[in-house]
Symmetry: C2
Subunit: 244 residues, 2 copies
Amino acid sequence: MRYLMTFSYDGTNFEGYQIQPGLRTIQGCLEKALTFINQKQETKVIASGRTDKGVHAMNQKAHFDLQVEITLEKLKRALNSNLPEDIHIKSVEKVDEEFHARYMVKEKEYRYYLNLGEYNPLERNYIFQCCHSLNVEKMKDAITYFLGTHDFRAFVTENKEKENCVRTIHDARIEIDDKNHMVIIFKGTGFLKYQVRNMVGLLIRIGEEKKEISLVLKMLEDKKRDESTPRAPSCGLYLMDVIY
Amino acid sequence: MRYLMTFSYDGTNFEGYQIQPGLRTIQGCLEKALTFINQKQETKVIASGRTDKGVHAMNQKAHFDLQVEITLEKLKRALNSNLPEDIHIKSVEKVDEEFHARYMVKEKEYRYYLNLGEYNPLERNYIFQCCHSLNVEKMKDAITYFLGTHDFRAFVTENKEKENCVRTIHDARIEIDDKNHMVIIFKGTGFLKYQVRNMVGLLIRIGEEKKEISLVLKMLEDKKRDESTPRAPSCGLYLMDVIY
């Protein structure tokens, strides 16, 4: 039987999603718990995609196959009781044997949170403590250039020359709440490694009036990275949803 | 010169407010930073009161004396650059030589946060993950019995027979937000060690319909602890404000 699970995690104390020998990873914890439940048969977990070290998830999704017979309710409970307190399984459902959590993704939503007000030690691992005002109108203007289908090569940090970097962004917008927190929302067919944090990094620079709005268009056209714009820190980034 | 500072901290990774040899405490970090700023002369910090291990503060206040000449702006900056990222000095002001941060407290506000919805790993150190519904009307009814001047001996965990446990609570109320979070607010002349967490523990039991509302009155009258009601966990408690 193939199952799809929806789960949340606090990325702070993990070395990222992907399993790595000797390191504390989300995939490592999930596979350990599932292997135990699956009568000690090694069980692989295929997520919608990885998240980097320090990045959080509200609704990450992953599939896995089990040989044991177990109700969904018991499976959820068994998983949660075998997982550390910084990962939580929200739901488990049965899916088709052909279902694939990575290949069948239709849309993903990421959100990036910033605090524009005074430094708050209680938020430091969950909201990027930007702690100065930004020109929100300029940022709202700039973010619209990300909408649509583009080659996002300029927003990928690693050497991706051989990879297809064309992605489509359906929704890209900025909201401010009454606590001086900014949230930057991206929905799209998929995102490359570091893409959201690099886009946010540029938006912050534009909000600081250190970069021009036109640089977004230029980078998308030239497909060249801007080494002078830092990637936004991982702590503000959340994988919010995955749609199949 | 005597100074009063207002500061916030994330209590998660401290062994409580009060200095203890060899342990990471908030007072320990503050005195270390101030001693460094005060040209290595040992500098004591007197707070409005202690908070226990795991308890947070949004606006804790403390006074200290400095011999060096320094502007308030520079003092704040020097403190923050010598403190760990889980403590933040929000403001520093000059006060009278007679000012005392503990003895002159007029009112304190504490808040206790609970999540009544599904377990959220991202909130686990900041909001008590109660994760089941509570009878809010019963709790709102019960909390009114704490209002006024009472001997709170029954809500103090340690042996306090010789201590004066009479305190006055001016405001005690419960709010629910749209995210299924409950906040329990107490304002009063002062609170005894574990008093808020013991009062909240009883309120939770009443919300679970495992205890009667009348038990609040009975405990205040009899001044006897109820060993069957657990103290609410420290992670949900915040010292919100101190008024002089």
